[in-house]
């Protein structure tokens, strides 16, 4: 019997194809949007997190605190607090901190022969290599000696080396740095390895010079922007953050003057933000599912009225209320279910398109497909019940005489 009722439902849907499709449209759009949003959200998130963890593990960033402007007070960024000496003190006083280096960079024009290139110049100490897991492919990196004697040496990113020395070997060559109306000459001592495209695409085009050179000869300041530290191990990252916070609070007497963030916290924040965003967009898509359900109910009510006579005939021939009920509910379910399937297909396609553009792997989880499909069935059931009940309650004599 259930098969016969199912067949009748499918028959009645195919009789009026355009109308069935239009009433499915809300469900199609809703389910498609849910699938696409969830997929794009998790794809983007997995890309961002993989890029961040690619930067190096157990990274801890120490940066100036930002005090918010409260009534009458102007917001300010704490400056002139981080020195090279303080970095050494942090390392000495925080046992979970393995390496620490200053964050220092400027932008300048590099000139080699007749070519020039505007780029980021980063002041580094040797620790940079281990912290960012980034090493020279040829020559050497900035050494401790370069650092203490403030020697004018430079290591080029692989892309930058290509730009400045397309045909010749850059090692041993001289590069002129034009920054703040001053010229400085540097000897190229190394070229970095290629790291592949990551979150920071310009890493290949950076130039590296000793931190001391940048501070003494260019900035003329003994302060740096902040520090990047590395915990002795991944499990020690939390402890390291605590130790640094404790030490700096005691040292500066004001916990608002600095901020300590670990990689882990950053990842957490990002996943929270993308999670919230997905949830919000998913909610909007959910509303469209609801609207789709109302569309189905509307069409079902019209259909019940149109088919009053048919219902009367069926009842006269022995259909019980539950047969009529089942027929209309199955019709609603078939409509919402089919709409859900089409929506899943379209959402999948959309997500695949966006993933291709964004360059991340397509992630469509079984979970999201299952949830979207069962939700569309649920919508069909919920909004089909009322019209179906209405149909099943019709009085056979009145229904038979309906014109």
């Amino acid at each position: 019997m259930i098969w016969e009722i199912l067949r009748m439902a499918v028959d009645s849907l195919t009789v009026n194809k355009l109308r069935s499709f239009l009433s499915m449209l809300g469900i199609i759009i809703g389910v498609g949007a849910v699938i696409a949003i969830v997929s794009v959200g998790s794809g983007a998130q997995s890309q961002v997190t993989s890029q961040i963890s690619q930067l190096g593990s157990n990274l801890i960033t120490i940066s100036p605190g930002i005090r918010r402007g409260r009534s009458g007070r102007i917001s300010f960024t704490a400056t002139d607090v981080f020195t090279m000496e303080l970095a050494e003190q942090i390392q000495r006083n925080c046992p979970s901190v393995g390496l620490i280096m200053p964050n220092l960079q400027t932008s300048g024009l590099l000139i080699a022969g007749s070519t020039n290139y505007q780029t980021q110049v980063v002041g580094v100490t040797p620790a940079y290599q281990q912290i960012y897991d980034f090493y020279p492919a040829r020559g050497q990196f900035i050494t401790e000696e370069h650092e203490t004697s403030a020697t004018n040496v430079m290591v080029l990113g692989s892309g930058l080396a290509q730009e400045l020395f397309p045909d010749t070997d850059p090692l041993g060559k001289t590069v002129k740095l034009f920054v703040r109306n001053r010229h400085l000459l540097f000897v190229v001592v190394g070229v970095m390895e290629e790291k592949g495209t990551g979150a920071w695409g310009n890493i290949e085009n950076q130039a590296f010079i000793p931190a001391s050179v940048l501070m003494k000869k260019i900035n003329n300041r003994k302060y740096v922007n902040g520090y990047t530290a590395q915990a002795v191990s991944a499990t020690a990252a939390k402890a390291a953050v605590g130790e640094i916070e404790y030490f700096l609070t005691r040292y500066m007497g004001d916990p608002e003057k600095f901020r300590v963030t670990s990689q882990e916290q950053l990842l957490e924040t990002i996943s929270q933000v993308t999670g919230t965003l997905s949830l919000m967009l998913g909610g909007i898509a959910g509303i469209s599912l609801l609207v789709g359900g109302i569309g189905i109910m509307n069409i079902m009510l019209v259909s019940v009225t149109e088919r009053t006579r048919e219902i009367g005939i069926r009842k006269a021939l022995g259909a019980k209320s539950r047969h009529i009920m089942a027929q209309f509910i199955i019709e609603a379910l078939a409509m919402s279910g089919l709409g859900g399937l089409i929506g899943i297909g379209l959402g999948w396609l959309g997500a695949a398109g966006v993933a291709k553009i964004g360059g991340w792997p397509l992630v469509v989880t079984h979970g999201s497909v299952l949830v979207a499909f069962s939700f569309s069935l649920l919508v069909g059931l919920f909004f089909g019940i009322y019209p179906a009940r209405k149909a099943s309650k019709l009085d056979p004599v009145i229904a038979l005489s309906y014109e």
Partner: protein, 227 residues
């Protein structure tokens, strides 16, 4: 005794207006009879048919079908009785327009729980054969003539082998010649033992029955057996 109607009354209350469609109808019908119910328009013929066909319940009075009191059973039980014991033939044919003729004839089998597609189709073909419609079974109702539609309706009424066939003006929408053909089918069915109750305006058609019940203003005015 197939049918026993005792003081049947049907009242429609429409706001302040009270319509007594059926005032007081009592009669008995035996198995194998061919009864015509005649009367002027609005006299309560259809109302009576609806009650006899278990489509409706009387406001008062009792109705026994095969000895069972059906004035007090549930809607589901009534549906079952309609399916198993009663075959309807309407003036408006009342076929399902989107289903084929074969599918139309199968509908009572589906609700009767007769399983097996093949068995259903075989029974439907047999019933259509009985009314002289062996071919064209895959057409839809709008592709056949009125007389053919009424044959389909009769086949559908017969398919569950009911104890009673009710026909409300079955020739009302047909021309005289086609009407006669349909009447011949009913007479043939009656000869084969089917009990038939038929509503009609037409005295000539009523004359072909073996008993005529005349109704006026919701009352049985005359009940006579034709020789």
């Amino acid at each position: 005794m197939l049918i026993q109607a005792v003081n049947l009354q049907k009242v429609y209350q429409m706001g302040p207006v009270r319509v007594e469609a059926l005032k007081d109808a009592s009669f008995q019908i035996e198995e194998g009879e061919f009864v015509a119910i005649i009367g002027p328009s609005g006299s309560g013929k259809s109302t009576l048919m609806h009650i006899l066909g278990c489509l409706d319940q009387p406001t008062a009075g009792r109705y026994f079908l095969e000895g069972q009191d059906v004035s007090a059973v549930s809607d589901d039980k009534l549906a079952e009785i309609r399916n198993k014991k009663i075959g309807f033939v309407f003036q408006q044919f009342n076929l399902l327009p989107k289903a084929t003729i074969l599918q139309n004839v199968c509908v009572p089998l589906i609700y009767g729980g007769i399983r097996g597609r093949r068995r259903q189709l075989k029974l439907a073909e047999q019933a259509l054969e009985m009314v002289g419609l062996g071919n064209r079974v895959h057409h839809r109702p709008n592709e056949i003539s009125g007389g053919q539609k009424q044959r389909v309706a009769i086949a559908r009424a017969l398919i569950n082998n009911p104890s009673l066939i009710l026909a409300d003006e079955p020739t009302g929408n047909l021309d005289t010649k086609t009407g006669k053909e349909i009447m011949n089918i009913f007479r043939q069915l009656n000869k084969e033992g089917h009990t038939i109750i038929m509503v009609t305006h037409d005295q000539e058609i009523a004359d072909q029955a073996r008993r005529v019940i005349q109704i006026r203003d919701g009352l049985v005015q005359k009940d006579e057996v034709i020789a």
